[in-house]
Symmetry: C2
Subunit: 325 residues, 2 copies
Amino acid sequence: MTPPQSPTMRALVFDGAAKVVDIPRPIPAPDELLIRVRRAGVCSTDLEITRGYMRFHGVLGHEFVGDVVEGPPEWKGRRVASEINCVCGRCDMCAGGLANHCRDRTVIGILGRPGAFAEYVAVPRQNCHQVPDAVDDEAAVFIEPLAAAFQITRQVNIESRYRVAVLGTGRLGLLVAMVLKRTGCRLVAIGRNPGTIALLDRKHIATTNVDDADGVGRHDVVIDCTGSPDGLPLALRLVRPRGVIVMKTTCQASQPLNLAPLVIDEVSLIGSRCGPFPDAIAALARRDIDPAPLITARLPLSRGDDALRTAAQRDQIKVLIDPTT
Amino acid sequence: MTPPQSPTMRALVFDGAAKVVDIPRPIPAPDELLIRVRRAGVCSTDLEITRGYMRFHGVLGHEFVGDVVEGPPEWKGRRVASEINCVCGRCDMCAGGLANHCRDRTVIGILGRPGAFAEYVAVPRQNCHQVPDAVDDEAAVFIEPLAAAFQITRQVNIESRYRVAVLGTGRLGLLVAMVLKRTGCRLVAIGRNPGTIALLDRKHIATTNVDDADGVGRHDVVIDCTGSPDGLPLALRLVRPRGVIVMKTTCQASQPLNLAPLVIDEVSLIGSRCGPFPDAIAALARRDIDPAPLITARLPLSRGDDALRTAAQRDQIKVLIDPTT
């Protein structure tokens, strides 16, 4: 089954505006696999990119699951999810065990490399993880963002006695709350969206309103998943002296910020990005975490631009893109 | 030797403007000592207070050495330096071993308690440390800021293989550089002031210019001692992925700040305030650290307002105030 010489494919491309177009199907490099995408998920980072973040132009999308259609025999036909950082293996970061911070990396759908809102995507073989049968396609789309949520537990020791607040009950905030719930900590999720708050209630995760001042200066750990420059000032208000703020928010906007409270209270502010795929895959396979209730819309790739607009609406959580229909 | 009933004393008071006035001598509470101040030092925090920081009105000053003139017999006549956080001993922070972050604290010359730019100051007995004979009065004034510099080594493990940058070669930056030099790390101090750079040269501490781009994204640890909102963006530029920024800068000003680089590079930003007096006293007593070259002016308390103006000049480092003449 040799693919035709210059086949094209459908893809959602951002070049100042997001549109579905036909472009050449990627040709995998020797160390890459060609993957036929089964499902992909819209992340807030995709939306930030359409506002200018990272100045990325190209095929969007980095949360996906698909089948290997080109590659070594031991990979062909496997259903895989892919880590997003494509690394050189030679720089000081790679040599030092911090390959996700490779100096020369490309990042799928974010930095210098086409993304997965497409029929096909080529990714380095070393980025791929086989998805077990127990994890269906829709759950597998969550492996990447769920890994980013698990990264917090690799960076900060969340003790069960800790009072922990997750700020933002959007796409990532919900996953973070679900991951932290497993630690047994005294967890509260703080958000404004009634829909996501009902979802947290069903998961037995306490919620409170942004304006509820209870717990000011009393939280051992605060996770900023607001995706907004308003998140950090609130986090600084909630965290206790010598507490930890984990920052997941990346956004294009800046706002004036006085960090004197961070210094006075000797707070630690820790940036957190991509995380361990094996932790996420295992949690999904064991059904410790069920992300299905987070899916609020499914659109075919032909309506990819609609999918972005839908994902930007306040009542939406995870919007899936299906390139197979 | 009973002091007169309502004796007055000279003090440098800030009430929107800084002026030397006669005010009642403080009457120590039962758990306090009355100290006759021998020398005090002007800190950047004092200057920030005169710009509105902390909204403090009252007697300024928190770096000092003096003699106990009222208190229990075992303290009377001793020469002491005092920690600045006056704590309740009962709140969750005090009970949890974080008394410097007491919820109900007052802070000498900074928050709810008169400072030491005065002939006398009353401070809790538990705050006081006897100053050994090997540390003269002028060196003893540096115990408090030097302890703040040592706090960095309590918060971050500075390995000798680490590349470390100290931003700002002012009062605190110089002390921080002198403390970090002792760790054997690959240290560079970055500042603009030719006078302080010459001083660092004599201490065999490498220096470089702010605009020298060498080392962008290559420093394991960066200490922001700039006292300016420009410090953090520079620190974010110099630190490596997964590196640590220690933030000493507290200032009244805010400026727009995009923290996306902190998230992407998973940098840790750690606020750092007061530190361990025993470490500072021991280093001064052993003459491991000689702060004498940092003293650029000495003024009598009667010219305290001049002392503040002097300390604000770019060619000045540490300005001492002498209430005894």
